[in-house]
Point group: C2
Chain length 205, copies 2
DNA sequence: TTCAAAAGTGTAAATAATTACAGTATGGAG
DNA sequence: CTCCATACTGTAATTATTTACACTTTTGAA
């Protein structure tokens, strides 16, 4: 069932209001915006929109217009800590104080919801330049207990922390830079994978 | 002036609520969450928080707790169209219908507020691989009437649309791929710059 | 001990938002 | 022309929310 022109206007206003304010408008606010002098004028539209399934007026209270197709903007956004260097030590032990700050990411853009322990890392050096990861880039690292060969990982190798591609050759795991100037890293002792790079972000000016 | 432990709890709850719902809680909601039986119990905290400057109770109406340090999550987020190829023709003439979809970007992450006519472009080909822009990447292109030499731009050159670095040599502008396998592009006729690449985003799996 | 700040309870009043009900006007479809 | 959906007006009642006022309890410093 299609929306009428007026219903579309009301619906668009609700979406625009939510975009600017984070929550839905109250009926009096819709009244003022459209110059409708009776709250019932608006209520009629809201009931029509509800019966057509584009909004929901479920709970009691104020500002309770729900838009199933438009989750609260805040609900899609996640805050992740930004680290200037790969934090040493096991990921669980990373003190939040070591973070340089926070950045907000929208799930719609990422295409997935980052796990709670994910973090952003400011890349230093050009050892991954042939994989398109340059100095200054921001990478989203997500903890992954079972990384696959070929993935780019943040790893602790013999106590040193690096961003490298994970490779498996004849049963042995090692790390490979994506820059011919850097050698392969074969772990002498332990190889601790802190997480897998899921997203690369570069700001330019 | 520091917050007391209880005030901090209330403040944290307000922030968490805003994160999940996009707008601030009402006083009864705060009451229920903390088991406070009088609305005045909450109002006292709100006035304390206001006098300490962390919230504002400016206007009349419901759910009117403003948090200056935490703008409405939705207000920071912008929707941009995603194009599968650089749209041909002058940027103004691009039909919105040509977009493949929309993606949401958070200004905190980008570090700037994209101009309204900005768009996202899905990169095809590896002509910019030495600049760290690979096939499948998403780039944010912002219209810029005065691009500078050295910037990476989306351009129409002799009717063809491409992503290249803008170079100026002895007064002449031309476009340069960041891949030795590609030739420089010297405009025969017109060189129309559609916009400057401000951000590169790569999703991995 | 005395005092003041912090954190409440309890009640009432004022304001805001929602819902309900009885209408009116207009523009098609039949 | 009649009927019906749409889009309202106007008013009142109901429910939510905010604000105000008087008072209590606890805690920690002077």
């Amino acid at each position: 069932m299609e929306l009428t022109a007026r219903q579309q206007e009301i619906y668009d206003y609700i979406l625009a209001y939510r975009r600017g304010n984070g929550c839905s408008p109250s009926i009096p606010e819709i009244q003022r915006h459209f110059g409708i002098r009776s709250p019932n004028g608006v209520a009629g539209h809201l009931h029509a929109l509800e019966s057509k399934g584009v909004i929901r007026l479920s709970s009691r209270g104020s500002r309770r217009i729900d838009v199933p197709a438009d989750p609260a903007p805040g609900a899609r956004v996640t805050s992740l800590p930004v680290f200037g260097a790969i934090p040493a030590g096991p990921p669980q032990a990373v003190a939040p104080a070591a973070a340089e700050g926070d950045a907000w990411l929208d799930e719609t853009l990422l295409g997935f919801r980052p796990k709670p322990a994910s973090f952003l890392l400011k890349v230093r050096g050009d050892s991954m330049k042939d994989a398109g990861i340059l100095d200054g880039d921001l990478v989203l690292v997500e903890p992954n207990p079972a990384p696959r060969a070929g993935q780019i990982v943040a790893a602790l190798i013999d106590g040193e922390s690096t961003l490298k591609r994970l490779v498996k050759l004849r049963g042995a795991w090692f790390l490979k830079a994506e820059n011919p100037a850097y050698p392969e890293l074969h772990p002498r002792a332990d190889l601790v994978i802190q997480g897998v790079v899921r997203t690369v972000i570069r700001r330019m000016n």
